[in-house]
Symmetry: C3
Subunit: 335 residues, 3 copies
């Protein structure tokens, strides 16, 4: 029984190495020397240019998501550790699956964009992890990582390549997908004994401070997340500016509504546990699911209005999103 986890982990890692040996190449490997050189010089310039954005996303994945979940007083250490394990496996698997789908029979050439996309695919599992934290074993998490990233890559290929839908900020393919996948798994694992919460579902003063480290790094580097794979130049800097101002507008309104909803008027990090018969440890429904859906709708609205100044539209959308989330969350919590 205690051999199950190490054996599965080693078998999966050997499988990854075999897959890399079969399918993966450097961006540099020259099959047609003269032609490739041109692409190369541009791509290599881009490598170091996008590398700081990649590292921001990387910090979000490992420090951001890792410490976000330390608020549970008994699961702090294991949440950071399992977050690291999931992400490390997911990065390799995401590189392979996404690469196979997008390379159309050719070898996968690894560059900075693949590395950023691999981080994105991992983000999906880490969002879902928030819904099942403390209810799953490391072995179950390995299986969930393999399945969810395969489904995510397929879904993202469908949305982006077949339907040609634009979803740069990935509000649908990453946030909504990750949140509802996690809630589905939590629904399956649901035991009625958890209806009134679990005694370990508590936070302490210091665990909250550790969670703030995660929250802040996720929050600060979100502009990098939303812009890392955008078209260079104009669109990329707009993605940065828009995300930046949406985030700050969100903070002010979130504090306002948190204080309004909270009985004693105190400031609290809003974390409304939904009671839909599904036990959602980290509140991913409110954190990623609803804003993901609202983000999608806001995008449609912004395009419909032909918004010349999307920054303002985004700030307004963020305001609405916060209000919507707070009201829905508040209503659900109230009952």
């Amino acid at each position: 029984m205690r051999l199950k986890f190490p054996l599965m982990a080693i078998v999966l890692e050997i499988a990854m190495i075999v897959l890399f040996a079969l399918f993966v190449e450097y961006e540099m490997d020259q099959t047609t020397p003269q032609q490739v050189n041109i692409t190369t010089s541009t791509d290599m310039g881009k490598f170091l240019e996008l590398y700081p954005l990649f590292q921001d996303v990387h910090v979000m994945i490992f420090v951001g998501f890792g410490f976000l979940m330390t608020f549970l007083k008994k699961y702090g250490f294991s949440s950071v550790g399992i977050n690291l394990l999931i992400a490390a496996l997911g990065l390799q698997w995401g590189t392979v699956v996404q690469g196979i789908l997008h390379s159309q029979g050719q070898k996968i050439t690894i560059g900075i964009k693949n590395m950023i996309n691999a981080d994105f695919s991992t983000a999906t599992v880490l969002i879902s992890f928030g819904a099942v934290l403390g209810k799953t074993s490391p072995t179950q998490m390995l299986i969930m990582t393999i399945i969810e990233i395969a489904v995510f890559a397929g879904n993202e290929y469908l949305v982006g390549e077949i339907f040609k839908a634009s979803d740069i900020g990935a509000s649908m393919t990453i946030h909504a997908f990750g949140a509802y996948f996690g809630l589905a798994v939590a629904g399956i694992l649901y035991r009625s004994a958890l209806r009134r919460g679990h005694k370990n579902e508590e936070s302490t003063y210091y665990s909250d401070l550790f969670a703030m480290i995660g929250t802040l790094f996720l929050w600060m580097f979100w502009p990098s997340f939303n812009s890392a794979i955008a078209e260079p130049g104009d669109k990329q800097s707009r993605a940065i500016v828009n995300t930046y101002f949406s985030l700050v507008a969100c903070v002010v309104t979130a504090f306002a509504f948190s204080s309004l909803v909270e009985r004693r008027g105190k400031l609290n990090m809003p974390l409304f546990t939904t009671k839909l018969g599904i036990h959602d440890t980290c509140g991913v429904h409110n954190l990623h699911g609803l804003p993901g859906v609202v983000g999608g709708l806001a995008g449609i609205a912004a395009v419909a209005l032909g918004a010349s100044n999307t920054s303002v539209a985004m700030q307004a959308a963020a305001l609405c999103s916060s209000i919507g989330t707070a009201v829905v969350g508040g209503l659900i919590t109230g009952t």
Copy 2:
């Protein structure tokens, strides 16, 4: 009563959105297509080039200042939270006020430099926050943020544009200004009952470690802070090199003097509480006020000496600054 904070926060956020809609444009909006395109291609290259420096400053504002103030055992969580609130509001307000002053009647075009400058304006309030931490309500902090940033932007415009004074490291406009503004507010809020300190003004082992996270991120990214808006090329890299070597020289001398002043010869983070009849929670007088003034004087001295090698001058200045701060701080503490 408990509606005061949420209502004020929402009203301020709506005001920000209205101000953005009225005054703010993207750096890209083409009024005179052919002319702007040239500026644009250069500016966009600069956007991604300066973006890592912006993110360093951003980490200083949210993680640096946020965790710096967690050393107070009872205010750790709320200091991180209110730091986030102040900065999020301040960023928007700073963008608008600084933009209006510098754009001379035109629309404000948002680029990476505006975002860095908005972070700077926020830094002023966060320095002042150090002097009043634990003595003010969130509502009072919202008011202080609005007033102080308006005064800061006016003062900086006066110093930089009217007096044409060079103050790249911002030792006067940010550090000295922020420190003495905060002390002035603390002086107004001062209650004689606080003369002997407050029982909550204590730190614990873990709260000190959290404060070290803030301290280190502030310390490491200071070269980015001092160079982010410097002229590209020569001057920018000199600002980085000078700040870097000044900082390391400061650490060695600070440890030496801390050990000398401390009774039992132990190493301690120096935090001398001034007793000028003003209760200065975070010791901003010594952290920002004195070094700000000394930094200004050192700058004058360096220019006067026609220093060809300012790096050495800065290391020497840092040494003097530490000695000065320690001696003055020690004398004040001694009485």
Copy 3:
């Protein structure tokens, strides 16, 4: 007696300032104006291009190494503090010693590469610090910093310039050197009373979480460490890609073997204390010494096999390295 540390620190800092005044110049100082300008424009472009990688390495040195050693419940705060002191002194001394060796009688011109190399020289002392943590005074650490960096710079000059050996990842000159230097010092300081461990050699729940902050920042930014001074373009991005995939492969196998070795099958951060008659507080033998030697051997093997795809070779090497470390560590611990 209590004057020993402050006096030594101040004397060392004054010595550094004198050495800088005598030997150091800006990269910009124009001796032959027209010729230098060309170099300058390229070098200055590189300054800002490599600056994000430098900051990643800087975070590894101060947050990474600093918090890595907070797991000891009684030495958390002093380990972060002394880490800061050592690094601040070491950076200045490393700049001077490396500069003198490489500049061949000319003045040392300070650029971004010198700053990165100074961080590297400091890493050596911080690795050694892990072996003697809690057994040395700050004064002893100042002396060790001065001696070890001088020996390191000499050794690195010998390996790189005289023997012309390629060691970009620095598995030998930094990791193996730092580990065995530290163990040698620990061997000298060894007292037989420590044979059964020390009562302060314990960790607590929160100290482990703080140590995870250090571990994660070291782990995430390792690609920057390995690539920062590589040749630009092709080689630099390969160094990033290889380190990245080696690191994720390492995590999965490390978790697997940790769970296998651990009695109750639980996941633990592996830290096998060697029992060679030397008391190795932080397990640097396993963390840096063995992997450093294995990394060297793996490099030789990879070159021998003419590996066209070193990424796979590195993943495989990482797998072997983990297995080797776990098996050797396990055997030693078992006895």
